[in-house]
């Protein structure tokens, strides 16, 4: 009797046993799974939602109209992942975003695209000086992007450790930075410490240019362009690389979900198993070592290691019992800064939007359109958020995906995506359920100032507050980066000092989300670096 029980238990374990379970089918979880499966591990990905992709997801929210519901453009995704996983063969196509238009409320505009001299002429209408210096700025930023590219590819060393591995890594890091040269080291220091407004004002004087550029310093964070630290976020948005060109932004064919699908197909080609509608309740921990997971429906799935791609709050405070963790870590994660600050408004349109500053069709509709007429405009938008309200005249980053990938909407119809800031998670008055529509109205009102026909062509409106983002994809507070990109929680401090190397105090429990180095955005880098560390542990 006893032996039969044993064999049954053994049998059950055998059937369910994986080498690795990845919690969360977002882009980082999928990248992590693909790398582990490529190395020959038996991998299972568990996604809570019925669709894969996490915040990189395309959904047909309104019949015939496909929305990149949350994240909407691609730049930071690491080219080495594209090659390692052969993503083009699995359907990944990145289409170019051609230009940046800044419409102004007086009917004027600033338009920049890959035609360098044309852009210069347009900038010169606002400031001759800015036009001349524009190229120098790009030149300087090229070196900055190159400087941080190195960091994107390494596991953060522990600066307090005397371990030979850490010392070697620190030495290479120091060598890399000292190799940059004086001028670049100074620029980098400025980027690490200044506000984006101050940093840009060292170069430029015209408002529409400064406003639009400073916006890259606030996207996804709870900072204004005049907040110190926002210059680093500016850099974070510049370190993308498409086909060897830094700072290039693109649009994933089929929306950002197209990228997730390609990674998922690559993972499956290496025999990874992917389950949707499979929310994880708890990570099983026995004797300070993980043994698998329990799903919300009670099913237990066993694995030798578990990797969480969720944000640090969920990874350490929800998926495991914090009592199983050291106090210093629990305390650090509780203080981990993860403010929700942005929302998303997706519109299905019956016709093309007509901009007051540029009526009719044109190349401007195939690029980014930025409602950022000046630094003050954005700073004022931030002021409201600082005191617990959403911005009534927000900063909006618009793209019209159907102009770039016609498959996103029926012919002649369009989808328009608005990334909106600021929308704080915690409202002073009321709650998001009650005020969601009011927020949507504020966005459409703002759009209408620049697109007079917008109200007449809206067929459907999807409004997502940070609360909705948290409810749908699980990101704590709806923070798109899984934690602020502030210097005090980057690199060897992300998510907490001593825990930046993708491991946790629980043996065989790993982290691979944007809450780890090198942070948020569709980079895939945390997923890849974590996988490489796991494989390293496996060899030992």
């Amino acid at each position: 009797m006893r032996s039969s029980f044993q064999s049954e238990s053994l049998h059950r374990t055998m059937v369910n046993k994986y080498d690795a379970i990845v919690i969360g089918g977002g882009h980082n979880g999928l990248v992590n799974a693909a790398y582990l499966a490529r190395a020959g591990l038996k991998v299972l990905v568990l996604e809570r939602r019925p669709v894969l992709g996490g915040a990189s997801v395309t959904e047909e929210v309104f019949p015939g109209f496909r929305f990149s519901v949350f994240s909407y453009v691609v730049s930071l995704f690491r080219p080495e992942i594209v090659r390692d996983l052969n993503l083009p063969a699995h359907g990944l196509t990145i289409l170019p975003l051609e230009s940046t238009l800044t419409p102004l409320s007086n009917g004027d505009r600033l338009y920049r695209d890959s035609d360098h001299y044309r852009s210069m002429r347009d900038i010169a209408r606002f400031s001759r000086r800015d036009a001349d210096i524009y190229e120098d700025y790009s030149h300087a930023m090229y070196f900055m992007a190159k400087a941080v590219k190195y960091i994107l590819g390494i596991v953060p060393p522990d600066p307090t450790s005397l371990h030979p591995g850490d010392l070697g890594s620190l030495y290479r890091l120091a060598k890399h930075f000292l190799g940059l040269g004086e001028e670049q080291l100074y620029t980098l220091t400025r980027l690490m410490t200044m506000s984006s407004a101050d940093f840009l004002e060292r170069w430029f004087e015209s408002e529409p240019l400064k406003g639009t550029m400073s916006a890259s310093g606030i996207i996804g964070t709870f900072l204004g362009p005049r907040s110190p630290g926002s210059a680093y976020v500016l850099l974070h948005h510049y370190m993308g690389e498409i086909d060897g060109v830094f700072r290039a932004w693109g649009f994933s064919k089929g929306g950002t979900g197209g990228l997730s699908q390609a990674i998922a197909r690559a993972a499956q080609s290496f025999s990874a198993e992917i389950r949707t509608d499979a929310p994880v309740a708890q990570v099983i921990v026995r004797h300070a070592k993980t043994a698998g997971v329990v799903l919300e429906n009670g099913d237990e799935i066993f694995a030798n290691r578990v990797i969480s791609s969720l944000d640090p709050k969920q990874t350490f405070l929800k998926l495991v019992d914090p009592r199983q963790l050291p106090d210093d870590l629990v305390s650090a994660i509780r203080k981990f800064n993860i403010h929700g600050s942005s929302g998303k408004v997706n519109l299905a349109l019956d016709a093309l939007p007509q901009f007051a500053c540029w009526p009719g069709p044109g190349p401007h509709l195939r690029g980014a359109i930025s409602i950022s007429p000046s630094i003050d405009y954005i700073e004022r938008a931030f002021d409201q958020a600082k005191y617990g309200d959403f911005s009534h005249q927000p900063y909006i980053d618009i793209v019209i995906p159907s102009m770039i990938d016609p498959d996103m909407a029926p012919p002649g119809k369009h989808v328009l995506s608005c990334f909106v800031q600021y929308a704080p998670y915690h409202l002073n008055e009321g709650n998001w359920e009650a005020r969601r529509d009011e927020f949507g109205e504020a966005v459409v009102d703002t759009l209408a100032e620049y697109i007079p026909n917008i109200r007449n062509i809206i067929l459907y409106r999807q409004v997502l507050s940070p609360w909705d983002i948290e409810q749908t994809v699980g990101l704590t507070e709806g923070n798109i980066f899984q934690g602020e990109l502030s210097l005090w929680q980057l690199f060897f401090l992300r998510p907490a000092a001593g825990y930046a190397r993708f491991r946790t105090p629980i043996q065989n429990y790993y982290q691979c989300g944007s809450g780890t180095h090198p942070g948020g955005g569709i980079t895939g880098a945390p997923g890849r670096l974590a996988a490489l560390e796991i494989l390293k542990d496996l060899k030992q």
Partner: protein
């Protein structure tokens, strides 16, 4: 000085870059916009409209038309039904390729041949003693290529009286566009889903307008030959005077190529009783060919290593290059790459290469010359099958 094509009123108005190329004596847009990027993605992601009117076109008529065409080309055109198109090279007596193009069987005894270079005299000379007339119809037809995944959806909106849904790869059908008659063939030079429209030059502009009107919702863009060049390399399609030299223009024997050496062995029908060059090609078939046309795929890590030596990331993205570079195996030159480009859709650096047959086995490692900051270096590469890019929609 190059002259305008029948579509010049439209192409000139759209050619913002003013970047014109001389294509067979005609003005052809290199790009329409300052960069070719969007035009390239129009081919692969939406729909591209390309003015290919500069192609040379010939019609062969008469009771011996089939016999004449079969004398000229290496494939057996008797197997080509009316309504079908065949791709084939044609050779000189020594089996060396003169040119290549498509042959459409318009009627039982009426064919239309396209060519990259003038071939009237050659075709007429080949027909001496036969009851077949060869006529140069180059100027009687404007040609528009509508290529890309959305090409069919657009045509369905503008063309009546043509069974487009049933039109298979390398077939053609007459059609009607709002009263304008035209011929639609499912052919092209992009390796994608696509069509070529053969139109009376008088009505060509109207056809252009109609396609643009309906094509807007499908992401249509006018596309120049810079973007087309990248697409045709991805499709593994050879280009005369770039990937091979016409036997009529070669200055030395070594410059000539047989169909076998151009990867076109599949077009050589040695079972056919006679065609020009058959005897030589039969002998080559028995003997084996000296050269092979293959694809090469450059190893990115190797490129990165070569460029990181001077602290740069690989500087290979941009336009296709038609400057040949040597290919090595163990420091020994075994051939050359004649066309090469970064493929934006595949994210790989690729090239069409002519390699000594004994080194041309698929999967073989080779090295190709690259230039890094004015210094010649070698990057690792692999010999791969052509085409590089072959989406199912091309034939579906």
């Amino acid at each position: 000085m190059p002259i305008p094509t029948p579509l010049h009123p439209r192409t000139a108005a759209l050619c913002e870059s003013q970047e014109w190329r001389n294509w067979a004596g005609y003005l052809a847009a290199g790009t329409y916009e300052p960069t070719h990027e969007r035009e390239y993605y129009a081919i692969r992601n939406a729909a591209a409209l390309i003015d290919v009117s500069p192609l040379f076109k010939y019609e062969v008529n008469g009771s011996d038309a089939l016999r004449l065409v079969n004398r000229i080309i290496t494939r057996n055109v008797a197997r080509c039904a009316v309504g079908q198109v065949m791709y084939s090279p044609w050779c000189d007596d020594l089996g060396m390729v003169i040119d290549d193009g498509t042959i459409a069987r318009l009627e039982e005894n009426r064919f239309r041949i396209t060519a990259a270079e003038p071939n009237l005299a050659w075709f007429q000379d080949c027909g001496v003693g036969l009851n077949a007339q060869v006529r140069d119809v180059s100027e009687e037809l404007a040609t528009l290529a509508l290529q890309g995944p959305n090409a069919r959806s657009i045509l369905l909106k503008v063309v009546n009286d043509a069974n487009l849904e049933g039109l298979r790869y390398y077939r053609f059908s007459p059609g009607n566009m709002g009263g304008i008659p035209l011929l639609i063939s499912r052919t092209g030079y992009t390796g994608d889903l696509g069509y070529e429209l053969w139109i009376d030059p008088q009505t060509a502009v109207k056809v252009w307008d109609k396609i643009f009107e309906e094509g807007e919702g499908f992401g249509i863009a006018p596309v120049g030959i810079v973007a087309l060049d990248i697409a045709r390399i991805e499709a593994g399609l050879v280009m005369l005077q770039v990937d091979y030299i016409s036997a009529r223009k070669a200055l030395i024997e070594e410059q000539k190529s047989s169909p076998f050496e151009l990867g076109l062995g599949w077009t050589v029908d040695l079972k056919k009783e006679y065609f020009i060059g058959r005897k030589a090609l039969l002998a080559e078939k028995r003997r084996g060919s000296q050269w092979n046309l293959v694809g090469v795929e450059v190893d990115w890590t190797s490129l990165e290593r070569e460029f990181s030596g001077v602290n740069l990331v690989p500087q290979v993205v941009g336009r296709a290059s038609r400057s040949a570079v040597p290919v090595y195996r163990d420091d020994w030159q075994i051939g050359h790459v004649s066309s090469h480009t970064f493929s934006p859709i595949l994210k790989k650096y690729i090239g069409i290469a002519t390699i000594e047959s004994r080194y041309a086995e698929l999967g073989s490692p080779v090295e190709i010359e690259i230039t890094v900051e004015y210094v010649r270096r070698k990057a690792r590469a692999t010999i791969v099958r052509l085409p590089f890019f072959d989406p199912p929609r091309k034939r579906a």
